[in-house]
Amino acid sequence: MKRTLTVCPYCGTGCRFYLVSDKGRLVGVEPSVTHPVSRGGLCVKGWNAFGFVHHPDRLTTPLVRHDGTLQPASWDEALSLVIERLRSVQERHGTDSVMFASSAKATNEENYLLMKLARAVFGTNNIDHCARLCHSSTVTGLAETFGSGAMTNSISCFDQTDVIFVIGSNTTEQHPLIGSRILNAVRNGTRLVVADNRRIRLARQAVLHLRHKNGSDVALLKGIMHVIIAEGLADLDFIAARTENYAALAESLTDWTPERAAAATGVAAREIVSAARLYAGAERAMIVYSMGITQHSHGVDNVRCIAALAMLTGNVGRPGTGVNPLRGQNNVQGGCDMGALPDVYSGYQKVSDAQLRDKFTRSWGVTALPSTPGLPLTRAMDAASAGKLRGMFIMGENPMLSDPDQGHVRSVLQHLELLVVQDIFLTETAALADIVLPAACYAEKEGTFTNTERCVQRLRKAVEPPGEARADWEIICDMAERAGYQGMRYSGPAEIMDEIAILTPLYGGIAYDRLEPHGLQWPCPDRSHPGTPILHVERFTRGLGHFSPVTHRLSAELPDDLYPFVLTTGRTYFHWHTGCMTRRTHLLDREEPRSFIEVHPDDAARLGVRNRDELLVSSRRGKVRTEARVTAMVIPGVVFMPFHFAEGAANALTNNVLDPESSIPEFKVCAVSVEKLP
């Protein structure tokens, strides 16, 4: 029996546990008793995190498409072909005709290396990852207002707050150990306000549950801020000392009376007033948000309003306060930190800044690096349609299920000249690839993940990868070598982190020997720095906090006679994203074995639909069959679908309309019709 202390591979909470192995096979999970978040507990996914690792579907050898079918190949053949064909596409169509998709499931070191490979070896800034789909609005919105696009406070702050305002986060299902912390806080007297029109578990414990219309967050937040100013609840000392542009914000709110906000949101005016008084009246108040805020065509505006609300009441920079976007993936914070983004190197250092570019050019030993920001992932499909993008290298992502408008995605991926997918299973995306590279999973490699509270934690190898599968970092280094680049020779992930620390001020003090027992929170600029539990304590990262007034805009596609329902999408508690791990974990897949759609009982009665009836759901993009779940979880006129299921894929319906600034798709609102199948 062997026990290996590691990090959970699912959500951004960053729980730690021991993987229990016997004779080279995983046989269980035991929670860390001393970890400040896990504290001896885990959620159902954590308890079952060993369950998919030895699944017979694991990829064990490289695959190369011959005569239309994927056939086993040697590493030598597969990697030589990857390099040869990527180069060939670039030679014929230009340097920026290829794109690299990194992964929020991969380690910091691997994200850093793929970013380095794209820029230093292939000379393109076309590198992005699935943060584009979840918190790109946060990165843009909070960078502008605070100077740093990350959770301002720590998870322990939930034990020290008077009011928690949760908006657009189903916390007990998507960040269960944070959700349970909120439930405990409520038991101990903290007051909870929930704004989400689904009747999520937290709503049952809330003193106030605001069920506002999908896409009306700006109106709701403006109404709340109007009341705060009108009733003299704003923290004028904080505003004067720590912020700028308040007058413009106040001006933008003058006509956003509770009555106007009520009309725009469907929430009673008195509830908007109550929410304002509860939040602003607290000595310490925290805002928690997630995809319900970010995944809109006005996601950045939503985030600007959240930031303004916190600054308006002085709820920044102290324990038990802050703006707390909960990052979805285990390492989506790290993927962003490592510069797997089209416009920045690691630590959010802009590629357009000549001095920074020069630093990376010299350190990486190359003659030049590209200066123009690359393509965001969500614009890649359209770029490919237009013939600008011809080749994609995708590491650990499954856009066939995770990206909006599946039909368009499929058509584009099928028509690329070259598609390479590096993954642990033959996902729906990998099945379309020309070359498939088998990767080690989280339990089979070393590295670090950065959780939602910016804590860099060690991931450890418990068992060997299956067959010939290799760690992503090893594959990337091998690719660099084969491409003629000698700047990626490392003894292991610890040495990669040492390079990251040298080049990345946020991670300057991060080193493996300092990460025991449970990690360090960035910013951590040098080896003597203890890490930073709370951001913006004395001053905002950008100096003064900036109020950014916004205009209320409607969602891009609203219901009409043909498509009378609002479809909103998300996840369930038991599955993770496109399900390639959880749908291969027996207990988790048993819990939610098939696609479903939540329909309000009033709508169901009108449509003659009963529980478990088969329905056809249609949008302007596609049609899917799915199963009815008749429930008051949703409000009338709104239906909800999870996007985990290849059969009954919610993203066959969703709309690839993007926020103009963050390029995040509007997953949370599109119009659909629902009909009962005979």
């Binding site: 029996m1 035991e30 929670p31 001393t34 885990l42 159902v44 017979p56 405990n184």
Partner: protein, 326 residues
């Protein structure tokens, strides 16, 4: 009676490893204590019950039932050397007795007994609990008991295997040890025992309304930790993994807090709400098992209360239940 001083512990355990596959409480790098192999971390006999259940030595979270490789059936073998597991408290031993009886009832669970048969179980007791608090003497239910008096271990064998293990140790026992053992053995049941018995009475007399379970169910995030940490929970799920050459059937700990646990293939579910599942978990331990086996199947090991992220372990629930309904 035999006695073992701290300076002879290394020698004692080293000798045992020649005959047995020894499992013992160990300290992991972050301070978590588990029962594991001595190679995995320093031995830590002090500190009380470990969080992960000691019965996992015989009923692990995941176990292979059989493999069929190209048509040939293969079953896992019994361990090469029998298990010798240290670290059970008196409460853990009561749990072990309960599941020994459960797994032997009717169709004997051969996967469980493949590990359990021939294994030696050693209890820890005395003033070796958290911060030196008293762990109640086992007084049986095991092969061997190690009682800590503050200076040395008193070793009491209850079986031939236990006697054989300590046969070479010296016989002299300090008077203080014997006195402390006597005093500890006379300890009265604690408050939690009274509480759990009262909760059981209330449930059996149907004095707890459904609204109570709805409230508790609202606070359950379905992590399943209460079941997975409980030494008397014995439910498991079964999966088949199929590949071109092989089928592997295995089983893993399951949880009655999951909707799918009782869901029928039609979709109908007799435990289709959180309130019903929460009620069932507690009712099963405190009422149904009492009726079937004549005893409550919660022995107050404390693990479900320790792992539950929202504070609804069985003692916490019993506390709320008794406070409200008598």
């Amino acid at each position: 009676m035999k006695v073992l001083t701290s300076d002879r512990l290394d020698q004692f355990f080293a000798a045992l490893a020649e005959t047995w596959e020894v499992r013992v409480p160990i300290l992991l790098p972050d301070g978590t204590r588990v029962i594991g192999s001595a190679d995995d971390g320093p031995r830590t006999l002090h500190g009380g019950a470990v969080l992960s259940k000691p019965t996992a030595a015989f009923f692990p979270q995941h176990a292979t039932i059989f493999s069929a490789v190209e048509g040939t059936l293969q079953e896992p073998q019994a361990p090469e050397r029998p298990l010798l597991v240290f670290g059970f408290t008196s409460r853990d031993l009561a749990c072990l007795c309960f599941i020994d009886r459960f797994f032997a009832d009717g169709l004997c669970d051969d996967i469980y007994f493949r590990q359990r048969q021939g294994a030696v179980v050693a209890a820890l007791s005395g003033y070796c609990g958290t911060g030196g608090t008293l762990l109640l003497p086992a007084g049986g239910n095991c092969d061997l008991e190690l009682f800590w008096d503050g200076d040395c271990w008193l070793l009491i064998a209850y079986s031939e295997a236990g006697k054989e293990i300590i046969t070479d140790l010296p016989d002299s026992v300090p008077q203080k040890t014997l006195e402390l053992f006597g005093q500890a053995s006379e300890q009265l049941p604690d408050e939690n025992e009274k509480l759990i018995k009262r909760a059981s009475e209330l449930l059996r007399s149907d004095r707890v309304p459904d609204s109570f379970w709805a409230e508790i169910g609202d606070r359950c995030i379905a992590c399943t930790g209460c079941n997975l940490a409980c030494p008397t929970c014995t439910c498991f799920g079964v999966q088949d993994w199929r590949s071109a050459r092989q089928i592997e059937r295995s089983r893993m700990w399951d949880s009655c807090m999951l909707d799918g646990f009782m869901r029928e293939s039609s979709g109908h579910n007799p435990l289709g709400s959180e309130a019903l599942r929460t009620r069932r978990r507690i009712h099963h331990k405190l009422a149904a098992d009492f009726k079937k086996w004549g005893e409550i199947s919660c022995f107050l090991c404390g693990r479900c209360d320790a792992v539950c992220p929202t504070g609804i372990g069985i003692v916490a629930i019993a506390g709320e239940l008794v406070a409200r309904f008598g």
